[in-house]
Chain length 239, copies 4
DNA sequence: TCATAAGCGAGACGGTACGTCACGTCTTGCG
DNA sequence: CGCAAGACGTGACGTACCGTCTCGCTTATGA
């Protein structure tokens, strides 16, 4: 079950070697949003010719340290207690190094979200039936409800309610793409006629999850998810 | 259509037990949460026996100025741009006067929410049929999606994702009560057997609204609400 | 030998009780230059009606702590090593408290200069003869050359070469006044016909002192000063 | 009137011993103070035997660009606004290139001073009479008071009051030597018995100039200089 | 009736974090 | 090896608000 098309930048060499044209990963440039910054476990990707003329490249170690520190501190102190200076200190990095590459703590969290969601919210390579949808929804519920990495999504969703720029980033940078992909897969798996119909099904499943997580603050236990799926998916074919 | 049981605290300092007259007279004590602070149009509540020995009572004008200023500034500058000092300046009030009665800007907004929701989210005095439910849901959608006063709910819901204390205040001080009331009314109007069943119906209607408002960020137009109601309400009796 | 007309604000109640109209001491207002701020040893001077309407007054303790800390740190680390943050830390004061009342470290040093010069560069109350001039010049040389408080003057004179705003402050706020007073006293003591002639004598004495201190960096020992005075003063009457 | 003995280092890397040809060939070594760096109009000094084994030599273009940029920026933004990064940018040079050859902006300015003073403060090749002294003093006054290049001397004199290292550099690297040369020439021109007597005359002339320029901030106009010279020079022979 | 104690405006204060600037060191390719 | 480019750790800058704290003034009791 490999992650497919949600841009998983985990070991994505696209950052420096854009031979993979299929993803959106823009060439990173200092603090112009937050694209293309994600935790990499791979090598520094020195293979390409690089468009940068000369000089020292961005420190991979610093980037990873910042992302991880932000994640840790978010869990530890919450979003409000999350501080650029705190991240810098925890990451052993200079404040200016953070500001060079990210515009705000939201930006840093966003990069973490893209990374973690790429890991946690994958679809099978060739999704083929309702069972794949069920599995994905369970995965989604686990991410949103329990996964510590899901805290980032929760925080960003919350902050998007408070700040239009966060909303814009979150939607056009992540949620829209996620949704488009999910709609397509649902359509395929359920054999639906068009995307609109698939979107209706997807919303019917996801809305209660978001509602329960964000508004009711109750756990998204497997039983709940299963009941939801039984109700929404089984009646679909009947239509 | 007078507001009924959602505690409209316009002139009512007792927040959680409206029927319990014994607690009504208690003058709100400084900054013990956010109880008893709401915009009042009536008199300064002189009816009580007052445990205060002497001196001037709380200034009603100041309280109203603060609440209104907070509302205005929230709309104008957003939650992040909302500051205690800004509210104090806009309200023509000393900072200390705010801190004497509220613990934080969340607290102020919460009072505004209680007040505005009391106005906007009322049920008819004797709700009696599905039509009342439909009307209420439309009202709710309008509040959540368009009403400038609904911005407060949106902001607090967002902030509740970031701060457990806000979540606690919002839920046990407002959402739980709102939900209990709505469940009861839905049960009555639809003639359902028990509260659990009513809660299921309520959630089935509200979840898509919240989802659309908070996650999808699309307008809650009347057509959408009607379609939702048609789907969820009409099929319920059939069960 | 009491200080006369150089505004000695040491224990000058003029800051809050301007019954002494002869001095320039303006009513202090936050960070509008640096007038009227100097170390006071007296009481908080509550006798007057004060133009400030209400609220807490400026903390005398903080003001003194800042001035003294700046003085100490200047001697210890030099002008370049003098830092607002360092002063704040050494004074046990918040940085903002400094910025509230002074615009820059130059401003703080200027206040110290006014204070210290008032102490060190006084004339006798009724200067009457060449001996008073001689005594004053010796005092001046000691101040410029040895007195740790003279370091402030040296630093400000140096910085005035680098920054026009410092130059402006130092001249119109201190040096011009000092010079006018000295010219008048010299004229009186030496029985000169007009101020221009007195200014020539004064310059003839002070120029070598400044030159030696600032340019040659040699000590202004008493022998040098005496020789200078012998040469310049004794021949003057002959003219 | 060719410049004579104030070491005009235009094409002369040996600073302290102009007559000593043995040290001339030494290529300046990186950042060991500020020796040997001055604007050259001639060739890159290829006459020497070059001790460097291989690799590229110091870029003459870069050196000139830095010195000129520093001069321009000093006039434009003042000493405080003068920045290594600003110089580098204005000179089209990498920051490291500056740090390789100079230790600080003071160092760069010092090189400019040595260069400009060499040009502006020359004596005739064989000074012979009081007229030469008068001419030199006029030249000096013009340099100190008007010449944009004199801004450098003013800035360094000012900064020397703030920083002992600058003072040390300025004195032992420039002022002492300048003074020694001037004393010798004055002695010759005025036919004085010894250097001490010449130094007294020199100081008597220069002190008022420095005083007027640095402390009084008044223009050093020709009339003032002439009056000064009349007074100090004409009475000297009488002694 | 009036002292008296609280509410209130004003705003100074010690703090924390912000986002920016420049420092001086370093590393990386190019020539 | 010099150099352009520029990332990096460092530290100070000046600002914005925080929440607490005094001040006098005003005002409505309740002794």
């Amino acid at each position: 079950m490999a992650a497919t098309d949600l841009p998983d930048r985990r070991a994505d060499p696209a950052r420096l070697a854009p031979e993979d044209a299929s993803t959106i990963a823009a060439q990173p440039s200092p603090a112009t949003g937050s694209t293309g910054n994600a935790r990499t476990t791979g090598s520094p990707a020195t293979g390409s010719t690089g468009s940068r003329s000369a000089g020292s490249r961005r420190s991979e170690a610093a980037r990873l340290a910042v992302l991880n520190a932000a994640d840790d501190l978010l869990v530890e102190h919450g979003f409000e207690g999350l501080t650029i200076e705190g991240i810098a200190a925890a990451a052993g990095v200079a404040k200016q190094t953070i500001y060079r590459w990210w515009k705000s703590k939201v930006d840093i969290l966003f990069d973490n979200l893209v990374l973690d969601a790429g890991t946690a919210l994958g679809w099978p390579e060739h999704p083929s039936g309702p069972a794949d949808v069920r599995a994905y929804v369970h995965r989604f519920a686990a991410f949103l409800g329990e996964d510590p990495a899901g805290r980032v999504l929760q925080a960003l969703l919350g902050h998007a309610q408070l700040d239009p720029r966060t909303a814009e980033l979150l939607h056009s940078g992540f949620l829209d793409e996620l949704r488009a992909r999910d709609v397509a897969h649902v359509r395929t798996c359920l054999g639906l006629a068009d995307d609109d119909r698939a979107a209706v099904v997807l919303d019917a499943v996801l809305a209660p999850l978001y509602h329960r997580a964000l508004v009711l603050r109750r756990p998204l236990d497997a039983a709940f998810v299963d009941a939801l799926l039984d109700q929404q998916l089984d009646e679909q074919p009947a239509r």
